[in-house]
Symmetry: C2
């Protein structure tokens, strides 16, 4: 096998470096000449930025630390390549660089846009008779990629969210007074992460009371009534909301363009979060103590509470991508197939045509959203629970998880 180059693209997750680690290990096993990493994705590579990963990742301990490092150790970019016929010089330049490094396998770890990059590079490669194989490995906390059962990165974020929600429920119920807590969770179009708040419920935790996903139009006054009813029966109401709730007209219920936005000290519309806004609104409408908690970027980079299942699958997906390229396949992405569910959960890694994945988006199935759009069904729990199982054995130094620093 000639040399391999690996890149990371799009937003951070707790598992994207596990996929990098899996790809490195598999490339070594297959006898790759050298293993390179693009710095800053395809954008950085186009500007000549790359590293020799054989220098940076040597021992088994390096691999282990890489796997527990959150966000993209190689850096990332948000870059959609133009069509090859529109700006062929960009492609000529990239292929020159790849040939100069004697690359036969190009692995790109990312979400929708990254798979579009793989599709275009392989298309161009085919058109000019290149034998470089272009393969993708899936990554996104949002879990919105098509074809794959779920996406590496989601399980760890879901575990962190569910664990944090359990802790917030403990925290919010200590006083003997009425209160509302609104927890804002990531996911602009797909509600997978927000739905994960439902995993908190169990023998030791009553769970959240209401869950609002971006898949459904949000009705503010209906929400006020639901919370009022709950407060008649219990002291503490905890609500999970997507960061991007929209009303039936498609307008965000807050944030800069939102219909309820306020003005800041500069006279500009406030970029306050949905959770903060909703907490204020409910608190005033119902005259009850209310607070908003935004789990924020913590949820996508909390490698210290990663899911062992997710990390294992992330590494396997990276390895499978390299293997596919070594077998001569191109324009494919590794995908996870669920072959058994529940306590007997089993998965296998397969590959699929990149065109079926690029630019598609998978949202929470309509029938999994229940109670008039205020909760998720047992089907969701059955789907998500296996993905948050297990805790990796994290290496700590000076009281903190150790990370790797490459770029």
């Amino acid at each position: 096998m000639k040399s391999v180059i690996i890149g990371q693209s799009g937003g951070p997750t707790a598992a994207i470096n596990a996929t990098l680690a899996g790809a490195i290990s598999e490339a070594r096993r297959l006898g790759a000449e050298r293993i390179y990493g693009m710095i800053g994705g395809i954008q950085g590579f186009s500007a000549g930025k790359y590293v020799d990963l054989d220098e940076h990742i040597q021992s088994d301990r390096d691999i282990k630390i890489l796997m527990q490092t959150p966000a993209s150790a190689l850096g990332s970019c948000r870059c959609k390549l133009p069509k090859p016929e529109e700006e062929p010089e960009i492609y000529r330049d990239i292929f020159e660089r790849l040939n100069a490094l004697d690359i036969s396998c190009f692995v790109y770890i990312g979400g929708n846009d990254s798979m579009d990059t793989i599709a275009k590079l392989s298309e161009y490669g085919e058109s000019c008779g290149s034998d470089i194989r272009f393969v993708g490995a899936p990554k996104t906390v949002d879990n919105d990629l098509a074809v794959t059962d779920h996406t590496p990165g989601f399980g760890s974020a879901a575990k962190y969210i569910a664990a944090s929600v359990k802790e917030i429920i403990c925290d919010s119920s200590v006083y003997d007074i009425k209160s509302i807590t609104v927890i804002e969770i990531m996911g602009r179009n797909a509600g997978w992460l927000t739905a994960s708040a439902a995993l908190a419920q169990g023998a030791d935790c009553g769970g959240v009371d209401l869950i609002y996903l971006p898949e459904r139009a949000f009705d503010l006054e209906k929400c006020v009534s639901s919370v009022r009813e709950l407060l008649d029966k219990k002291d503490t109401v905890v609500i999970a909301v997507s960061e991007a709730l929209r009303n039936e007209n498609g307008e965000y219920i807050c944030s800069s363009g939102g219909v309820h936005a306020g003005l800041d000290a500069f006279g500009h519309k406030i970029m306050s979060g949905t959770g903060q806004f909703l907490a204020q609104y409910l608190g005033k409408a119902l005259d009850v103590k209310a607070r908003g908690i935004e789990i924020s970027t913590l949820q996508r980079s909390a490698a210290h509470l990663a899911s062992a299942q997710d990390i294992e699958e992330a590494a396997s997906a990276g390895a499978a991508a390299v293997r596919a390229a070594a077998e001569g396949r191109t324009a494919e992405m590794s995908v996870i197939r669920r072959i058994a569910d529940g306590d007997d959960y089993k998965y296998t890694i397969d590959t699929a045509d990149i065109k079926s994945i690029a630019n598609a988006e998978k949202t929470v199935p309509d029938e999994w959203i229940i109670n008039d759009g205020t909760y998720v069904s047992e089907d969701f729990i059955r789907y998500a629970r296996p993905l948050i199982m297990g805790e990796p054995d994290i290496i700590y130094e000076n009281g903190l998880p150790v990370h790797i620093k490459i770029k």
Copy 2:
């Protein structure tokens, strides 16, 4: 030993239940007749709310799960008792209830206000010849209690903050663009938690660039200059700020009463956080992408990433309080004395007169705040590092840490 009653008071921490567990175990070891828990602190107990802890906490596993449960398992209150001479009937009622349960030892776990409760109850007890012993055990994430070297709860919150800051730094530096991240941390008067962001720095992490504590007046324009200078040298600037920064006139730089507060959809002043405000301000002033991250209540209840050192000390402090009462002492609080520092850190538990603790407040020493109020010294690191060491072996079920449910 006759019966023991234990209460929890004030805001949640990740370690307050470890103190409860330590008190229960020690009371059992000393042969206490029965062990009760007040529900909702002294306020709930005054209304007749308590449980038999021998029913709720039986096995070693129960103790272990109690120790990993965040927030007050017995519920809490924020209640300052009136002076005994002002409303003696409240005290008469409490003592009647205590005598009915045959209590000889009253343990109250809490912060400043809770120690004031202990001081008043023991004063009243002495005045009426009661032989009930009243002792306190310290608790607060804020670490602002006097006399004790540090306070149980602080170490775990500091560990979570430092680990999260490391993850945020990974997350914020993936793109090859200029950006500012402002992390808002708890602590209205004392900057101990905000200072803990400094613990993130190490061989694998550049750390935060600026730290602003509430102990110093905050100068917004000076902050803009500092960030501008940093952005000339590096892409990613990360700042840790206390939730309660005030300018030289003592006005909060944002929040409801703040000088820069905006108006919300109701025309009321916005309760936006310091971090969010500062991110918006810096982003606009310097024309750079900026975001605010509020670690929020997550930091005080993140038992999943507790410090083993903190949890051990918390349990010891609870045990010491019971022991002090058993030895006939009253109006005392268990305190932690540091007897060796650095890698050889050692502590011992002692007790101190409650009057030296109640209503006092300990802030970060002036000489530990350096670089013109924008960072903390090595003295702080030496002080705080031992307190975040070690990770408890957490029991997980269904992918999540298990908690105990008492009330």
